[in-house]
């Protein structure tokens, strides 16, 4: 039997993953959760917090040693666990803190040698290096296979071809004008559906304009609308190595990322309603002595575990190099539907108190509504 054939169904973390999980959980409990409300009200995240997540090794772990990283194997599963654990503290922080990792993962998957050499070392450095992937576009019914943003081959006055001109608009781009690099996904003007390229756009690029987006939730995450008007990038800005850029891989990895953020946030909801409802007295006893309340909490736990396993399966298939398009698609469906259900039940279980901004459940409710929008945002 081959090595792969001996592989068993297994839910055990590797030692490295277990250690990382413990470290991140401690960090989240001490540095994230207690302040999540404050940052939500302020609509901003202090830069030191990103610097602190960096010290967990978030970006550098899977960057090769020659580019200044730790050289661990590229691991969608480890990234999924990381997204889950950070989101248990705060989805907004998880999203912004892992935005650079998402950019790194795209480089690792699709970049050529010189792109990796140039860009990865900056991301592996000690200082926080804000970066983002820009896929989602403003408008109703966004479909990643029907992008409006185009990349047209540039033609010089002498008739020589060189570089591309990007035209369009992107939404939910982390860090905006502060981002050192943004990977813009755009389609050729006359390409087939799903055909697309990925282009590195550096900070301060002419033709790019930014506006801060204010949403129902994800308020501390510095999310921006990106307008691209005749943005000229050189040939070398287009990602492409031994493996050509695959839009579907990027989309699928980001769906796993969105599902992982959902799992972490829903875990926070479950933990919160468990203790709140056990302590809340009505009619002379804890409200969890009533089946209507207890069963709602049981169902949160059941659907959460089911979603978690679905997410892990898609990530583990990606890690093993198996096809994972279907699994990522199904994980997204469950994340969108069950995640919001858990979010709304979380508020319901606290009754009127759940509606008050003193409790966290209303914040998770607002954040969980973002899950379907997170296309291309966090690639694991």
């Amino acid at each position: 039997m081959s090595e792969a054939g001996k592989l068993l169904f297994d839910l055990t973390l590797t030692d490295e993953q277990a250690l990382m999980r413990e470290t991140v959980r401690k960090f989240v409990d001490a540095e994230v959760r207690p302040f999540a409300r404050k940052y939500d009200e302020a609509g901003a995240t202090p830069r030191e917090l990103w610097q602190k997540t960096l010290e967990l090794g978030v970006n550098a772990v899977q960057i090769p040693e020659e580019q200044g990283g730790f050289g661990s194997t590229r691991s969608p599963i480890s990234n999924t666990l990381l997204a889950e654990d950070l989101a248990r503290g705060d989805m907004s922080l998880a999203l912004s803190a892992l935005s650079t990792l998402s950019f790194v993962n795209c480089l690792l998957d699709f970049g050529n040698a010189s792109q990796k050499a140039q860009l990865l070392s900056a991301c592996a450095a000690d200082g926080f290096h804000p970066a983002a992937v820009a896929l989602a576009e403003p408008g109703t019914r966004f479909d990643p296979l029907k992008l409006a943003t185009t990349a047209t081959r540039a033609t010089s006055a002498t008739g020589n071809q060189g570089g591309y001109v990007l035209q369009g608009a992107k939404t939910l781009v982390a860090f905006g004008p502060e981002a050192e690099h943004v990977l813009v996904i755009a389609r050729p003007p006359h390409g087939a559906p799903g055909e697309a390229g990925a282009f590195v756009v550096p900070r301060g690029q002419a033709g790019v304009s930014w506006s801060r987006e204010a949403f129902m939730g994800l308020r501390p995450a510095p999310l921006h609308r990106m307008q691209l008007d005749g943005v000229q990038v050189p040939e070398s800005a287009r990602l492409g190595g031994d493996v050509p850029f695959q839009l579907s891989r990027l989309v699928d990895l980001s769906r796993i990322g969105a599902a992982a953020l959902t799992v972490g946030t829903c875990q926070a909801v479950l933990d919160y309603v468990k203790s709140y409802c056990n302590e809340r007295i009505a009619f002379g006893e804890p409200i969890t002595n009533r089946q209507s309340v207890a069963f709602m909490i049981a169902d949160i736990a059941i659907e959460l575990d089911a979603l978690r396993l679905l997410t892990y399966r898609a990530a583990a298939r990606a890690e093993r190099g198996l096809p994972f398009h279907r699994e990522a698609y199904l994980a997204r469906i469950q994340a969108v539907e069950k995640g919001m259900k858990i979010g709304t039940d979380g508020v319901q279980l606290l009754g009127g108190h759940g509606f008050i901004r003193e409790h966290m459940v209303e914040l998770w409710y607002r954040n969980l509504r973002a899950v379907p929008l997170l296309e291309g945002t966090l690639c694991v």
Partner: protein, 402 residues
């Protein structure tokens, strides 16, 4: 290392069972749905008790010496093999699967609580399980069938209903109380071989679904069995009541993932067939479009698949935990709760999606939709599973969370 794919060995088992389901069960599926109480003779080739005898009946629970200095090896063992087999047999036909000679729920009880000597004596029987009574369903602690010791024999009196395979089995594991005033701790199970005077099958039920499986009412009137037919030990624990009853109930920790697997198998059968019919009508499933740009039928199928896949993974997790020595009572109930409700919803929706073709007897979709209902009921209803999960999760006793 996290991996949620089946091992090569389990994938092989999956293929084997799917082929049995396709070749042995599907061809006779409609026949025994129509001929409700006929014995499906075609299933003799699958007799489990003969298989157990042939393999030397190695009793479960015999463990190899372990080297404590070695790190624990992850196992994909008998519990996983069981749910994988059950899923694919149930894909063939749940009713027929429950009618495979030798594979009764009573056998699970014997495996779980019998002494070594009892396993030797009863291991090759085809044993059904008699718990439910006309006035005692989910509340199995309230049964009123009695067992009284008279000399070297137990004398059993009472009425049992909903005994799966009660007509066709060759022994019944019956639950009875030694003293109704002592509550759950006094409930014991007894092996009663067929032909024992005083045990009579008085009725076979006519059901909504799983019609191929016989469901019997059995009457016990002064029915005498040897003292040694009480499974496990006879003492009635005074203090640790829940622990003693728990011993009998623990059968269900092992069987709940199995019933959940039936639900998954039955739902998959409906999904596969509905998809085939929809594809004939020109629908394509590529898992690409956002749900709101897919047709409503397409979107519904995706949603069902997502629910199905999630439920299946809960079932595999519960079995994996059992194989790796982790307590899984809550996870087994989670699996049964999600698989039971999702399985029922999927089979019903597939009928709806396929219109009069789905509703008609020319395909099996309507049958799957009838069969699936019981899977959200027997061996713990949806609500009982939620109760178990909720109590564990919230740290509640049965007095607090009723």
């Amino acid at each position: 290392m996290i991996n949620l794919e089946l091992s090569e060995q389990l994938a092989g088992l999956e293929t084997l069972m799917r082929s049995v389901a396709t070749n042995v069960m599907r061809p006779i599926s409609r026949k025994y749905d129509k001929q409700e109480h006929d014995v499906p003779v075609e299933l003799k080739v699958l007799d489990r008790s003969r298989q157990r005898q042939a393999s030397g009946a190695a009793p479960a629970g015999e463990k190899k010496e372990k080297d404590p200095t070695q790190p624990r090896q992850v196992k994909n063992g008998p519990a996983m093999a069981a749910v994988v087999s059950i899923e694919h047999m149930a894909w063939g036909d749940v009713g027929l699967m429950l009618s495979i000679p030798g594979g009764g729920l009573g056998n699970a009880a014997i495996n779980a609580v019998a002494t070594a000597e009892q396993k030797e004596r009863f291991g090759s029987l085809y044993a059904s399980m008699a718990i439910t009574e006309p006035a005692s369903g989910s509340d199995s602690g309230s049964i009123s069938t009695t067992a009284r010791l008279d000399g070297d024999e137990w004398v059993i009196d009472g009425e049992k209903i909903f005994v799966t395979a009660g007509g066709r089995c060759n022994a019944v594991v019956v639950w009875a109380t030694l003293d109704k005033h002592k509550g759950k701790a006094a409930i014991k199970s007894f092996v009663v071989p067929k032909g024992t005077p005083g045990m009579e099958v008085v009725k076979l039920e006519h059901k909504l679904g799983i019609r191929a499986s016989d469901t019997a009412t059995i009457l016990f009137t002064g029915c005498r069995v040897p003292k040694g037919n009480l499974l496990g030990h006879a003492e009635v624990a005074e203090g640790e009541k829940r622990a003693a009853f728990g011993k009998v109930m623990q059968t269900f920790d092992n069987t709940r993932p199995g019933v959940a697997a039936m639900s998954i198998g039955c739902a998959r059968a409906a999904l596969d067939l509905a998809r085939e019919l929809l594809e004939k009508d020109g629908l394509r499933f590529d898992y690409d479009k956002p749900l709101w740009d897919a047709s409503a039928a397409e979107a519904e199928l995706y949603r069902m698949e997502a629910d199905w896949e999630a439920a299946r993974l809960l079932v595999l997790r519960a079995a994996w935990m059992a194989d790796n020595g982790q307590p899984n009572s809550m996870e087994a109930s989670m699996a049964k709760a999600k698989a039971g409700r999702v399985g029922n919803a999927i089979t019903l929706r597939c009928v709806e999606l396929c219109g009069s073709i789905g509703y008609g007897e020319d395909t099996l979709l309507e049958k799957f939709a009838r069969d699936s209902k019981i899977l959200d009921i027997f061996e713990g209803t949806q609500q009982i599973q939620q109760l178990i999960v909720a109590r564990r999760l919230l740290g509640k006793s049965s007095a607090e969370l009723k």
